[in-house]
Amino acid sequence: MGKYFGKKLIIYIITFFIAVTINWLAPRFIPGDPVTSLLAQYQGPAAGRQMLETRLRTLFGLEGSLIQQYINFWANLLRGDLGRSILQFPREVSEIVKNNIIYDIAVLLPAISLSWIVGNKIGAMAGENEKIDRYIMPLFYGFVSSPYFWFAIIVVFVFAHSLGWFPTARAYGAGVRPAFTLNFIIVFLRHWFLPFFTMFLVGLGQWSIGMRNMVIYEIESNYANYLRSLGARQKLIRNYAFRNGVLPQVTGLAIQLGQIVSGAITVQVVFDYPGLGRLMYQAVQQQDFFVLQGAFLSLILMVLAANFLIDIIYMFIDPRIRLSYSEEE
């Protein structure tokens, strides 16, 4: 088992290294100099401008040769220093990212896990129950095939504008301060609900469709036939099928994470909800390379970490993986 971890870890480290390097490289090959564009707002004298520019270059880590910058970048990164924002100068990117990531966790974690659990359950039911399959699944296909953006706008229109049940945007309303009070929690939940709900519904569609197909496949499989031949009730077969159908869904979760995250960006933008997604969107729009870099890096880290976690979980739920590694020892 240690071997399994070791192997996975090495793969993840390599992936991380490559991703970070590309991430570092990309802004440096985009035309335009961040310091110059930042200083475009500066109205002062040339000497002051010169001084500011030197100072900013140091702060942004844009001094020296590219190789030197790259080495510095890694050195800083390992210290947890992601540099400074251009637009929100002099804020540190790590702080900005930290402030946003909480919201990602607040929306994505429940949306992904709940949609996964409920979706799998509904999918398993649909795989077996023709009525559910016929009436609910088309709706889910609709959820899945509509782009996040479009879907989010419809959700806003219906639940916020037309029905007025929920606020249209942001993490909490104007005039409200984050505090551990019932009032704030309610306000927060009301704002949280629609972004969560959008992510949840799309995910629900995705997972239930996947599970439905898996269950149909599993229920027709040989072991199910064998159980049936020997007089197992449908319920037992369903349990077995579900247990096996879940495995690809777990792998699917790892594969889909990237896509889910990109969906989250759209949803955050539509709902003007804080999070890495909106942060990146703003950073792209305003050419805040360092925030973009930091946010992207955190995303990579999160996705890699989640993947790693899923790999570990997978090892526990799929005996085939566990065994193929324990035999070697």
Partner: protein
């Protein structure tokens, strides 16, 4: 009088397709007595596996079209699925041909066993599990396989576990469907012997052993039924079928078998020309007549079942000629 465990009377089961019915099992009569291992032989598409499906796990498009099947005297074709479910494993059981993937990959062997017997109201208590362990010893398996997953077992081991599970509630009738075809020569012998052992130890009452490999069948079957294109060609004691066949198809089949002692330089063996008929558009008449060297005009009528020996029947108009010139064949 021997106890009849299974009796088929003019059993018909067709696959229903849009293009028409495939008459895969078309009027089979058969009696299997307690203690017998009935071999069912024939080439692919002859209906031998369909016969098994009809009896125990018919897929949705395989429909019972007529005739009866009695298990311990009870008609099972007209039974509700709930009623029949109770007979499974306890009275009628199956060793499927897909033994290699008959286990869920995520459940231990013992989980399969426990879950299955619970479905029949048997509590998988320690006592029961001890019995299972004893049964495993019969098939030369260590009880530790119970705590393993299917992937940890070799093909032969899986086959033997399946044999144990399928017979765990001592069924009266066991269907063994191509259980040796995926195995190596040495395992084949072991598994085939095991089936006989189960019968000898009266763990199973009787069995049908379905295979396309006549040589193996001959090793263990007490009686052999040869099927051709959904029809019964010949049924009788194993020795008689192998050494004194009374149906042209049986005869041709046996004479085409290579065997140690015959080299091509000495004797050329021959196959059967042509291919089996399409079972969707088949009319009356002997279904083998298109490939038969004994064919006469009479063969356009469906042949009657003729008794040619003790519990030996053939369905051929010209059975009397068969065998007399069989030596010429070789």
């Amino acid at each position: 009088m021997a106890e009849k465990v299974l009796e088929l009377k003019n059993l018909q089961a067709y696959y229903r397709h849009l293009k028409g019915d495939v008459k895969a099992v078309d009027g089979i009569d058969l009696t299997v007595n307690r203690g017998e291992i009935m071999g069912v032989a024939g080439e692919s598409g002859c209906g031998k596996s369909t016969l098994a499906y009809t009896l125990i796990n018919a897929p949705a498009h395989l429909k019972h079209m007529g005739g009866e099947a009695y298990l311990n005297g009870k008609e099972i074709m007209s039974m509700s699925s709930g009623e029949f479910r109770k007979l499974r494993l306890q009275n009628i059981s199956l060793i499927p041909q897909y033994a290699l993937d008959a286990f869920s990959p995520t459940k231990k062997i013992k989980t399969h066993i426990r879950d299955l017997v619970r479905q029949h109201g048997v509590s998988p208590n320690d006592e029961f599990m001890e019995k299972v362990k004893d049964r495993l010893k019969i098939v030369n398996l260590d009880p530790s396989v119970l705590s393993r997953y299917a992937m940890e077992l070799s093909g032969g081991m899986k086959q033997r576990v399946i044999m144990t599970i399928s017979s765990v509630l001592d069924p009266d009738f066991l269907i063994a469907d191509e259980i040796t075809s995926a195995l190596d020569v040495t395992s084949q012998r072991f598994v085939a012997n095991m089936l006989v052992n189960l019968r000898d130890k009266e763990i199973i009452g009787s069995a049908i052993f379905i295979t396309h490999d006549l040589a193996i069948m001959y090793q263990i079957a007490s009686r052999i039924m040869v099927m051709y294109a959904g029809h019964l060609a010949e049924v009788g004691p194993a020795e008689e079928i192998m050494h004194n066949p009374k149906h042209p198809y049986t005869e041709a089949l046996i004479s085409s078998l290579p065997r140690v002692g015959i080299q091509h330089t000495d004797t050329r063996l021959h196959g059967i020309e042509g291919t089996p008929p399409d079972l969707t558009e088949i009319g009356p008449g002997c279904r083998f007549r298109f490939r038969c060297s004994y064919r006469t005009d009479k063969c356009d009528e469906t042949p009657r079942r003729e008794q040619v020996g003790e519990r030996h029947y053939t369905a051929c108009w010209n059975y009397e000629q068969v065998g007399s010139d069989s030596n010429d064949e070789q």
